[in-house]
């Protein structure tokens, strides 16, 4: 009987499912289950007393959400402030990384002597383990023995007194600069690859018609790059908005108010204050926001293309 059954199995239909089965099992274990648990956590009072006994944690309903979204109370205000900082940080970092990446890709599009070495050099910050680059910047940004103050104060005399770069409002500037340093090579990589697929004939034809280099860049390069650029900007935004390494290495778990990014806020509420319910509520809100941004992006993208 098993033989007859086996004979009826359509292997062509079953094979893909067998191939994909391990991946599905892992997806369930490492992504789907944690996400369900995460949403559940945001509805219970998961404080330090219940961490090792989660099922006993009292149901909180929407209490966690109303706490983090009550902007009259310190915690809600802190979240709103952190959201604002993160948004400003993401817009600046993505914008500037994109501009630097595009500029570098444009000037490196044509062959010239230094092209290969420069391309390799520009990719190094991206290849470096993120924390190694950030630690180096942390040293450079030290007030008394760092390179930045040596350059700005002692060599160029731009400041009378050596400024602090890792606390106060300056911390935000440091955060943006360091993040751009290790993120712009990715924008460069993507735009460079995109520009390589623009046919040379387009530029040649335009040149014959008398279009200047600048007109060629404006009309051909930017026009042809639009699909790549829209994807790239979304990717960069999603990645920057969840940035953790840069603030955590630069400032530890107690960043200046000006540089208090959302993921660090969530991390602190969970692993410093041990209130996982609040942390989970904030992560769910973060996820909803990122999904909303992606959905709006998709809508806008479709509209532009139609």
């Amino acid at each position: 009987m098993s033989r007859r059954l086996a004979g009826r199995v359509n292997w062509n239909k079953v094979t893909p499912y067998l191939l994909i089965l391990p991946a599905i099992l892992f997806e369930l274990l490492i992504h789907v289950t944690p996400m369900i648990v995460g949403v559940w956590m945001s509805f219970v009072n998961l404080t330090r007393f219940f961490i090792t006994n989660w099922l006993a944690a009292p149901v909180a309903g929407f209490a966690n959400y109303s706490i983090v979204l009550n902007f009259d109370k310190p915690l809600g205000r802190q979240l709103a402030q952190s959201f604002g900082v993160t948004l400003a940080f993401a817009v600046l970092t993505v914008g500037l990384s994109f501009i630097l990446g595009t500029l570098a890709a444009i000037v490196l599009q044509r062959q010239f002597r230094a092209r290969g070495p420069l391309r390799t050099l520009f990719l190094i910050p991206y290849a470096l383990p993120a924390y190694a680059g950030i630690i180096t910047w942390k040293f450079m940004l030290q007030r008394d023995n760092g390179l930045i103050n040596q350059l700005l104060v002692n060599d160029l005399h731009l400041f009378d007194q050596a400024p602090f770069w890792l606390i106060g409002d300056n911390a935000f500037v440091s955060l943006v600069v360091v993040s751009i340093w290790h993120q712009w090579p990715f924008a460069f990589l993507m735009t460079m690859a995109g520009m390589q697929s623009i046919p040379d004939e387009l530029y040649e034809a335009a040149a014959i018609d008398g279009a200047s280099v600048w007109r060629q860049i404006r009309h051909i390069t930017f026009g042809m790059m639009r699909p790549v650029n829209t994807v790239l900007v979304l990717l960069l935004f999603l990645w920057t908005f969840r940035e953790f390494n840069t603030p955590f290495v630069l400032f530890g778990s107690a960043p200046a108010k000006s540089a208090n990014l959302l993921v660090v806020t969530i991390y602190n509420s969970s692993f410093i204050q041990w209130n996982f319910g609040l942390g989970a509520a904030m992560s769910v809100l973060l996820m909803v926001f990122l999904i909303l941004v992606s959905a709006l992006w998709a809508l806008w993208n479709r509209r532009v293309h139609n």
């Binding site: 094979t15 893909p16 499912y17 191939l19 994909i20 391990p22 991946a23 599905i24 997806e27 490492i30 944690p34 648990v37 995460g38 956590m41 998961l46 961490i51 006994n53 099922l55 630097l100 500029l103 444009i106 000037v107 044509r110 010239f112 420069l118 990719l123 190094i124 910050p125 991206y126 290849a127 470096l128 383990p129 993120a130 924390y131 190694a132 630690i135 040293f139 450079m140 760092g146 340093w181 993507m190 995109g194 280099v213 060629q216 994807v231 953790f244 390494n245 955590f248 290495v249 993921v263 991390y267 969970s270 996982f276 942390g279 989970a280 992560s283 973060l286 996820m287 990122l290 992606s294």
Partner: protein
């Protein structure tokens, strides 16, 4: 074309500041690693006045860098191997078969790759702690096994996404011809597709390894003194009250060299794999 005088000037106006921006931290890292402690305490010196290799020897005793290194290596290699193996089968199915649920599966893979890690960190922490309590043993929390599981949350979707893109680029005629000759699906995968996909698989493996090697969020919440990885170890090293900056720079250099060399050697494959998805879209 593109060789007018104005454009040449513009080229260097862009490239010189950018090159300096990239180079200065690299220069700082290398030269400071060659300075004795007293030379990194005072104002910054542009050139090492008393060059020494001592920091490179000291890092192994000041902090248990060797242990961090072994932990990072173990966790990154296992996470890489697991995700590449699982991804090979899944990507083959996605690339070569049309089946119900294919779109949904690819969608989930793409979406999970976009989600912030902190979304998985909080629940996984709670799950690990409670599973350990149930089992009465340290299985997941603060263990290398637990860290590997969390690393799969980003290496696996990335590997599937990148590898299925790579498989799509291998002509289907190749494995279909083998199938007509009576080779099984797995036979076609192993004897035809995998050999031609070798660069892609190497790229996926190296990239998975690199991301795991540089990971900090999961490692800082889920390790202890015994299981610490390089990222957490160095972050702590650079946050002490009196920081040995020369040693911290030497250690940063040592942990960077393997991945940077790997990246630069395999640059061509990595760039192709990384950009395939976005450029296609």
């Amino acid at each position: 074309m593109f060789e007018t005088k104005g454009f040449k000037v513009f080229r260097w106006v862009v490239l010189i500041p950018l090159a300096l921006f990239v180079l200065v931290p690299l220069y700082t890292m290398i030269t400071s690693a060659l300075k004795p402690m007293r030379d990194v305490l005072g104002t910054f010196q542009w050139l090492p006045a008393h060059p020494t290799f001592q920091p490179f020897a000291d890092i192994w005793t000041t902090v248990p860098l060797g242990r961090y290194f072994a932990n990072s290596l173990f966790v990154s290699v296992i996470a890489m191997v697991c995700s590449v193996i699982i991804a090979i089968f899944a990507s083959y199915a996605i690339s070569r078969y049309r089946f119900r649920g294919r779109g949904a599966f690819s969608g989930v893979v793409l979406a999970t790759q976009m989600f912030p890690g902190v979304l998985f960190l909080l629940p996984l922490f709670i799950i690990f702690v409670n599973l350990d309590r149930l089992a009465g043993a340290h299985l997941f929390y603060q263990t290398r096994l637990g860290l590997i599981v969390t690393y799969l949350t980003f290496t696996l979707p990335f590997s599937i996404y990148m590898l299925s893109g790579y498989f799509d680029g291998i002509p289907r005629d190749l494995d279909e011809a083998a199938r007509v000759d009576g080779t099984s699906a797995l036979g076609a995968l192993f004897r035809v597709v995998l050999p031609s996909a070798r660069p892609g698989i190497i790229a996926v493996a190296v990239y998975s390894f690199m991301t795991a090697w540089g990971e900090l969020l999961f490692a800082s919440a889920l390790t202890n003194a015994q299981t610490r990885t390089l990222s957490v170890g160095l972050q702590a090293y650079s946050s002490e009250v009196n920081v040995y900056w020369n040693q911290v720079m030497a250690a940063s250099l040592v942990v960077s060299v393997p991945v940077v060399v790997g990246f630069l050697v395999l640059q061509r494959y990595l760039v192709a794999g990384l950009t395939a998805g976005a450029v296609k879209a």
